[in-house]
């Protein structure tokens, strides 16, 4: 008999007062008990609507069934057949718009916490599994992947599993792309990213950092080096500025610069070699999700007051309830100003 509770097992989190002063992960993850209980909410639908909502078609009911049986390692194997980055996706995928949006349990009550279960399974594997990843038999074909962000890593993982010899070229000194320079530590700890990349390396993927394709090497040279195909996952590109007065003043950051200083270069740490301005009063211009992440980050750095300038209506933010609720809770305890 399925667990007919209308609500997901809540995600345990750090106490807001504590987490406002640190950069550790906010959500601390399901316990085994919570995972078993949540897995029991899955109805194991025959037509599997959740799978159709997943961009990589993870066999969701199958892995959840294994969780329910307590066979977490087998659950991991099922996920990893379709996804190269389960610990990352379990944390940062917008499941509420994808798999969970299609969940039958969501018609009346909350959907099954698929993302939370995915995360649990990946974390369990990383912590407990002694299974050694082995590189599959090589098929003798070489592929170059440009950029080690989520696209490049996923491509590299899928190809490596099929026997291709994959080399990933990264312009920065660390692999991970937006996972390391953009998404903050408290949403996605960098050791999780590093662990996923280690797993890819065990599959035989080579990672070359400090190589800027187009500058250090060209695509033509990659072909000359024996690569038969090149996948370009170079990222979102240049930030766009608005061309308004004062945007080049000292203390005005693009989102990318602020995030890169804070995340990739760890400027939030007291002894960081890379500086970041710490202001008491902060205005955020723009209204995408990114700005909310900035905001959260600023919170820990500034602690005083925010002003959010945005041209997007507030309801756009409300779609992301998972992150917003936490933010509001803390915001209401401080001097939070939103100018819309």
């Amino acid at each position: 008999m399925a667990n007919m509770s209308l609500n997901k097992n809540p995600m345990p989190t750090q106490d807001p007062k504590v987490r406002a002063k640190n950069f550790l992960e906010v959500a601390t993850g399901y316990s085994e008990q919570a995972a078993l209980d949540e897995a029991a909410r899955c109805l194991n639908c025959k037509n599997m609507p959740c799978v159709s909502g997943c961009p990589v078609n993870i066999h969701i009911p199958d892995f959840i069934e294994k969780v329910r049986e307590g066979d977490f390692e087998e659950a991991y194997k099922i996920i990893s057949k379709s996804s190269s980055l389960p610990a990352v996706c379990g944390r940062v995928c917008p499941q509420e718009n994808q798999c969970e949006a299609k969940c039958v349990r969501g018609i009346k009550g909350e959907p099954v916490g698929i993302g939370r279960l995915e995360r649990f399974v990946a974390d369990w594997h990383n912590e407990h599994s002694s299974a050694v990843e082995t590189a599959p038999e090589k098929n003798g074909h070489k592929v170059a992947v440009v950029g080690s962000g989520p696209a490049g890593l996923t491509c590299a993982g899928d190809l490596a599993k099929s026997g291709y010899e994959v080399t990933v070229f990264e312009a920065l000194h660390t692999a991970g792309g937006v996972l390391v320079y953009g998404i903050p530590e408290f949403r996605l700890p960098k050791k999780i990213v590093a662990k996923e990349i280690e797993t890819l390396k065990k599959l035989g993927v080579k990672i070359e950092t400090n190589i800027i394709i187009g500058k250090t090497l060209t695509v033509d040279e990659l072909f000359d080096m024996g690569f038969e195909a090149v996948f370009i996952g170079s990222g979102a590109g240049l930030p766009r500025f608005m061309g308004i007065d004062g945007e080049n003043l000292k203390g005005v950051y693009s989102a990318n610069e602020f995030l890169t200083r804070s995340n990739l270069m760890k400027a939030y740490e007291e002894n960081s070699a890379t500086p970041i301005l710490r202001a008491e009063k902060v205005a955020v211009v723009g209204g995408e999700m990114l700005r909310w992440m900035l905001q959260e980050r600023r919170f820990a750095l500034a602690q005083k007051r925010f002003i959010l300038y945005t041209v997007a209506p507030l309801k756009n933010f409300l779609q992301d309830r998972k992150r917003l609720s936490m933010l509001w809770r803390r915001a209401l305890n401080s001097n939070f100003f939103a100018i819309l």
Partner: protein
């Protein structure tokens, strides 16, 4: 990891290193830059390329010990390694169709003006170099400039070497005396480049400046190195580092370059204290 193949102190505050980085050496051109990190957790620091040897696979950097990162770099010795060395980034200095140029270098900026002078000289262009320093002790690369220039003028602030005064004085005299330059290329402190531009502008001599703002990724991703050029936002890393000096908003660039001054000063102090402790 990238090996320091050779290290030489050019004066009390300026050091030259050749780094083994064959991929970078193969592509490097005068005017481009690299980004390095001395050690893990170090900051990313851009440095304009001061030379390269494609066969040996080495890239030359010349830096002034001014902040925490350059202090750390200077502590490394020949045979040791630095963590990261990526490039070449940015665009090479344009040298096409130049028949006669004036190269104006200031301080450690001379280190990166030299490969430009050498390249132009090799291409058969008439090169007049004006290099300026605070005093005799800080003069670098004089012989190299002499070899790459048809005319060389050395300036010092106090007159202890060459002529006394600023680099803009002989530049103005040369232009006034009828030297017709296709281009003036100025590489040095922001203030110097600003005044070179103010000197050449009345005569309408095209002036190129090499900008070296605060930078992180160096690939166009963060926008930290942005400048206003001709009223538009430009990124030094991907649009430059060379720009038309007449169009650069120098006052803004100077203000932005001071953004982390208090931080830098504090860091340097900490580093010096650490050094002091080691000595004890």
């Amino acid at each position: 990891m990238y090996k320091i193949v050779s290290k030489k102190e050019l004066n009390s505050t300026v050091t030259m290193m050749d780094i083994y980085a064959p991929f970078v050496a193969k592509k490097a051109e005068a005017g481009q830059f690299i980004i390095l990190r001395v050690n893990e957790d170090g900051e990313r620091m851009p440095l304009t390329i001061a030379g390269f040897d494609r066969e040996a696979g080495t890239v030359r950097i010349i830096f002034q010990v001014v902040g925490a990162t350059t202090t750390l770099l200077n502590q490394k010795n020949e045979g040791e390694y630095i963590e990261d060395f990526a490039g070449p980034l940015g665009n090479p200095t344009k040298t096409d169709n130049l028949k006669k140029v004036a190269i104006v270098g200031g301080g450690v900026g001379c280190a990166i003006a030299l490969p430009v002078a050498q390249k132009l000289h090799k291409l058969g262009c008439e090169v007049h170099s004006i290099i300026g320093f605070r005093n005799e002790d800080l003069v670098i690369l004089e012989d190299e400039f002499k070899a790459a220039s048809d005319k060389l003028i050395v300036m010092t602030d106090d007159g202890s070497k060459g002529r006394r005064g600023l680099v803009t004085e002989p530049l103005k005299e040369l232009i006034e005396s009828g030297e017709e330059y296709d281009e003036v290329i100025a590489i040095g402190p922001l203030v110097m480049m600003k005044f070179v531009v103010l000197t050449t502008k009345p005569y309408g001599v095209k002036t190129t400046v090499s900008m070296n703002p605060v930078m992180i990724d160096g690939t166009g991703m963060c926008g930290g190195c942005r400048l206003t050029v001709g009223g538009k936002v430009k990124f030094a890393c991907v649009d430059g580092p060379d720009f038309d000096g007449f169009l650069v908003d120098f006052d803004e660039a100077i203000a932005r370059s001071n953004m982390y001054k208090p931080f830098e000063e504090r860091k340097r102090e900490e580093n010096c204290n650490l050094l002091n402790m080691k000595v004890k």
